[in-house]
Amino acid sequence: MRLTFKKGGIHPAENKTASTRIEMQPLPMTVCVPLSQHIGAPAEPTARRGDKVERGQLIGRAAGTVSANVHAPISGTVASVDNAVLADGRPGRVVIIKADEESHAADTAAREEYWKKVADSSFGDTSNDPHTPEELRDMILGAGISGMGGATFPTHVKLKTGAVKPDIMIINGCECEPYLMCDDALMRNYALRVVQGSQLLARAAGAEKTIIAIEDNKPEAIDAMRKAAAAFDGMEVVAVKTKYPQGGEKQLIAAVTGRYVASGALPISTGVVVDNVATAFAVWQAVATSTPLIERVITVTGDIPAPERKNYLTATGTPLSELPFTLPENAKAILGGPMMGRCAVNLDAPVTKGTSGLLLKSTGAKRTVYPCIRCGACVDVCPMGLEPYLLATYGRLHRWDDARQADVADCLECGSCSYACPSNRPILDFIRIAKKRSR
């Protein structure tokens, strides 16, 4: 019996065809760093126009409880603190930093040396880390780490546990989204660092047991992680069934621990904290090397020539268009995976902390929407046990109260219903509206 959540789920074509090597994407000469790369309040800019900033220097301070710090990904001069159009086409506040030749060369050299050190396993051992959980949380806050699986919830907030003390830390290496391979690549190449980061995260949350969950379509990553985790106490690497949305927080908790999060409750109520492997890696970077979150691995894939489907270690703020790819005909760009990713209309916009991938699809013909035939396929696949057809109807007919009664707020917007619908009905689109307006 392979571990998985009990109800629903789908098996979309995986299309995980990108190379698992991590290439270094050169640092750009100009970066545009959004002050809101996380869920919650945008960071308050601390740098002003004309300021000289160093790589890794704080340029935006977390404003409010749910917020995250933002750091300079390159050294240079702040050209402006202004509004710019971001990838989704909407404006957001950004800090634009321009490098000169000299600082660019220095940054590049420092970066290469840093990653050489990261690859050297004798460096940066954190198993006897002297910091207390509070200090670790402060370091995570200081480094501006927010969940890197896509939802970008500030990690320090998640670790600040209230009444319920967590006993299990789950590190999410499922990467159930088709196409994406950034977590896979990270686990294969930096397994030790991810494990060390996981241990730090577990200590910061106060959990005794750490479980690293990886979908069984990534045997190499599982092997690498098992090897790296063998020397650690209370650390276990488990293979979970390849099924979408296995990487959903509530689904993963159910699969690994058998615990269920009550409707409307937070996952912490079951005594479990879930964090992504890339987040664990960023935590190790913050604690062992005092490096804030200014770089991340992103997958560039889709309908582009096979040699171009790669994972890049990219500085945040790098324009998406600087990544090397040939735009397919009738291109549709998606930030993240095809299931939950967001449509990107502006490729000059920057990579952010939550950008796990850039998926370039060439669009086919528009699919005809047929009437609902009441087959119940959406009900079968819904991992939350909801009735998507009903919620979508409520959304379409403006019946917000009914939608609330039918627990629309529990929908995780995984899109399994729309995927499974034989009539191509845009079920999730209307559920999203019902969810928003029934609040």
């Binding site: 086409g89 909407r90 449509c343 209309v345 528009k366 845009p426 689109d429 209307f430 999203r432 509206i433």
Partner: protein, 278 residues
Amino acid sequence: MFTFLLTVALLGMLGLIGSLILYFTSKRFHVDEDPRIDEICSLLPGANCGGCGFKGCRDFATRCVKQENVDGLFCPVSGQDGMSAIAAVLGVKAKAHARKVAVLKCAGSCQARPAIHEYMGVRSCAVMDSTGVGTTGCSFGCLGCGDCVAVCQFGALSMNPETGLPEIDSAKCTACGACVAECPRHLIELRPAGKNDRRVWVACSSRDKGAVARKVCSASCIGCGKCSRECPCGAIEVKDNLAYINPALCSACGKCVEVCPTKAIHATFSINLNSAES
């Protein structure tokens, strides 16, 4: 024959018991309702549009009777005359209420703001707004799928296929506010109809900087502030690169309409540009 009689007797008894239960419950739980509620209800349009802020016409009538006057209550569909009639039922007088109409704060027609993206989803503004930015480069303007038209119960809104924007028939508009609540981009505002139906408003909602806004839409407000300098009433404020005309201060003189370089300020009356130049 016996079976037949037994059936009739049994059913008759069941019916009798049922009717007795119904009779006594209706006596026991009888609610005295003010007959004026029904009277006011008959005066109301019965569209249950919610424009008054209550759940429906009956809820509104109940409230009128409960507070024994119509202060602070207004049925936008019935209008001033209707409210006077309702007040008469209660034996009071209705206060004067300025008529309002809906205006569209976007002028991004297909010509002024060409489509640059393709949208393949459902034709619904709400869906379009939740999945992306729409088909144009403007993230503030009208999405053009007509959610507001669908929600209007009075036929006051219609899509103009040439401009791709909804048009508001101010004669039919009852200012119920259904379209205001429906527009995912909050582009419709209820403004006082004004003296002699003269009103002026900024037909743009873009808070982008002037150059950016201008690039994607030739009819956008660029926040230059010319209108606010020209306004003799001090009614115009420019905030976040967007001008807003305060209807309480505006005298509808039309000076701002003349000076606006992008023609983003609309008026219900025509302005003689030649006389302004001479």
